[in-house]
Structures are given as C-alpha cells and as structure tokens.
Point group: C2
DNA sequence: CGCGACGTTGATTTGCCTCAACGATTGTGG
DNA sequence: CCACAATCGTTGAGGCAAATCAACGTCGCG
C-alpha cells in the first residue's frame, strides 16, 4: 500500500491527476515481491512492464558475446527501471534486469499505460516529463563517458550517488563506470 | 514552407493531429536561416528553443575547462537539436550548438510548446514518444561507449550514419566518438 | 600569395586492461 | 556450529590501446 503512495508523490511533483485518473492508474499497478539475484527482465523476451522501485536496488545490464557485463542503469527507491528500448518498442529485450537486494516493485504493463495515457492526458504529460528528464540524464552521462578519466568518473558518481556506491557490488559499479573491477579497486585505494 | 511539411510528416509518423491542432502548432514555429559556424545556443544563456532541422547539419558540444570539445550530438535534416538539459529545465545552457553548414531550422519556444501540449494532448503524446525514443537512443550510445573499443565505435557509427561521416569535420566526429582526431585518422588509415 | 584551419604521420608516454595469485566474506550442507 | 566452497575484492607484473607532442602536407579563403 505504501508503495502506491510514494509513486503518487512522485507523480504529484510534476502533475496533478484528479481522483478518477488516480484510481485508474492504481488499477493498472501490480505490486511484486522480488528476491535478491532474481531477474525481472531477460534477453529475448519482450519487456512488457515498466517497474517502479518501492524498496530494494536493481541494475540493468548487457551481457556481451564475450561474456562481459555492462551495467546500463541502477535503480533504488523511487526510480523506474526496465529495458526501455524493449519496453518502448515492444521488441525483444537485450538486457537483464536483476535485483541486487530483496525488494518490492510496482509493475505496469505497456498496453495499460498507453491506454491510460490516451484516456487521461495528465499521465501522457507525466510520462513525457519523466522521459525528458531521463534523456537529459543520459546525455550528462554520455558527456562524462567521452570526456573524463576513470578516476574522474568514479569521483563524479560518488559525489552524485554516495548511497548507491555503498549499496551495490563493486564489480557492478565498475561495469557501470566503464572500467574493470581491478582498476576500480586501485582507484579506491589511492583515495 | 517545405520545412513545415517535413516536420508535419515526422509528426504523422506517430500521431494524427486534427486541422485545428496542426494550425496551432504551425503558429508557434519560426523558420530561421543560419550560416555556417553560427551558434544557435551558447553556454550561460537559457536555451528557450528546441530546433527542428529543415536543412543543414549541426552539432551540440561541451567545452571543458581545459579547452577540449566533446560533441554530444549531431543533427541533420529531420532531427531535433538543442541543449535539452537547458531546454527542459529552463536553466542556463552548458553547451554550444553550432551550424556546420549553412542551413534552415524551425524553432519552437519552450513555453509555447508547453501551452500547446496542454491544449492539444496529441502533441503531449508526440513529444513523449520523441523523448522516449531519444532516451532509448542515448542508452544504446552509452552501451557502446562503455563496452567497445575506439575502432568498434567508429565502425558502428559508420554503419549507422554513413552520410554524417562524410559531412562533418573529422575532429568533430572524433570528439563525438570519444577519441582524439589523431587516433581517428589512424583508424581510418588501416581500413 | 600566404595565412589559418584541418588532416596525417611518427615517436614516445601513459592510463587502463589482462592475467594470475592471494585474502576476506558469505552462505550452505553435513 | 563448523568446514568448505563459492563469490567478491585486492594486489602486483606485464602488455597494449589510445593519448600526447611535434612536425609536416594540403586545402580553402581573405
């Protein structure tokens, strides 16, 4: 129940849905309990859901042909996570989304969200704003990828998300920052 | 006039605005002619407009403290360009957006777009879809940044946008791909 | 023509990776 | 509750990809 409330708070930071719209939105949500190491998205399957994190931490990662993992995104409380490329285009996923801790999420199915948006433009607006913010965020990350050294990238991440650094495995953080776990370890030593 | 038509075609790939909505949209557009090397966005100033490219090529880049340029985005015909972070949040820009050729753009002001979206949800939907696609695109780029070698990144870009490779200065492409112009030159030699 | 911007090429250096071995911690079954 | 394996982080030696620095060629343009 509390999960619905925190998602509603998130929504109300940007838009103000009426009682009817709010109820309609709640009705498409499904609360799911996930265990550590559980995958909520897997390559090959179309990613039907977008998930709002009520509790716990997650990561989305790509597994290359050579077996190397590349973490695309972390998500903790009050974030969304999914294979967005798969979700948006309703094509087979290429990412894993894995629970890093036991947790709870609110899932909403693609078609339900689309129907909801058509019926209540206030949600069209909400998801537009979320997508735009996500895009701006991704662009900032691209800048730090192409412009900065491994050490600078780590420091920047530490500055922005000190909580996440302590909460996820170091190899996952290394693969997010685009370096090997060994090298991240060496960076942390000289600090 | 032809610029309006090609933008309309872009819109109609995703949504179908009525005659009234279409007219309202056209009324907030302003066609602007730009000369090569002209800046349409500069750091420090709030980026009021989003620009649709009718003709020409552009790039958005960040200039670091040490004077190094990092290209965040290219845009040719039928693309949007802006400092989206500045545009979305209406905060001062940190990027330059520069014309690489003489060209023409359609500019739309942030507040006009917001008003339009409130009045005609069909545009809310359109810009949501555009933002979602942009985000998915940015995520793919992040993956190739953290996972691939310089040569692989060049080949991937060449595969996806052969036209752009021949159309923009090589130092700009190098700074987009996250390598030095010298190294890009060496990569191209051995191919 | 001559200057400045752009691309090329080579010599050298370095940031980061690879590989391998070794602690520390966690969790699991006996 | 302990023993053992598995997982994760650390450390070091050596190697490679890409950066840096510098010189030179070329083209477009005032």
């Amino acid at each position: 129940m509390s999960g619905y409330y925190s998602l509603l708070q998130n929504i109300e930071r940007y838009v103000a849905p009426g009682a009817e719209a709010r109820e309609a939105f709640f009705s498409i949500l499904r609360e799911v309990v996930v265990k550590k190491r559980q995958f909520i998205v897997q390559p090959g399957f179309v990613c039907i859901h977008q998930s709002y994190v009520v509790q716990g931490s997650f990561r989305a990662f790509f597994l290359s042909d050579q077996g190397v993992e590349h973490t695309l995104q972390f998500a903790v409380e009050d974030w969304f996570i999914s294979d967005f490329n798969s979700y948006i285009n309703q094509t087979p996923a290429s990412l894993f989304v894995e629970a890093l801790e036991n947790g709870r999420i609110l899932q909403m199915a693609h078609d339900d969200v689309e129907a909801l948006c058509s019926r209540y433009p206030v949600f069209e607006r909400y998801f537009r704003i979320v997508a735009q913010k996500s895009f701006a965020f991704a662009q900032r990350r691209i800048l730090s990828n192409i412009g900065k050294s491994a050490e600078q990238r780590y420091l920047e991440f530490y500055e922005l998300y000190p909580d996440i650094v302590g909460r996820v495995p170091q190899y996952a953080l290394a693969s997010y920052l685009g370096m090997t776990p060994e090298f991240l370890s060496k960076i942390r030593k000289r600090l």
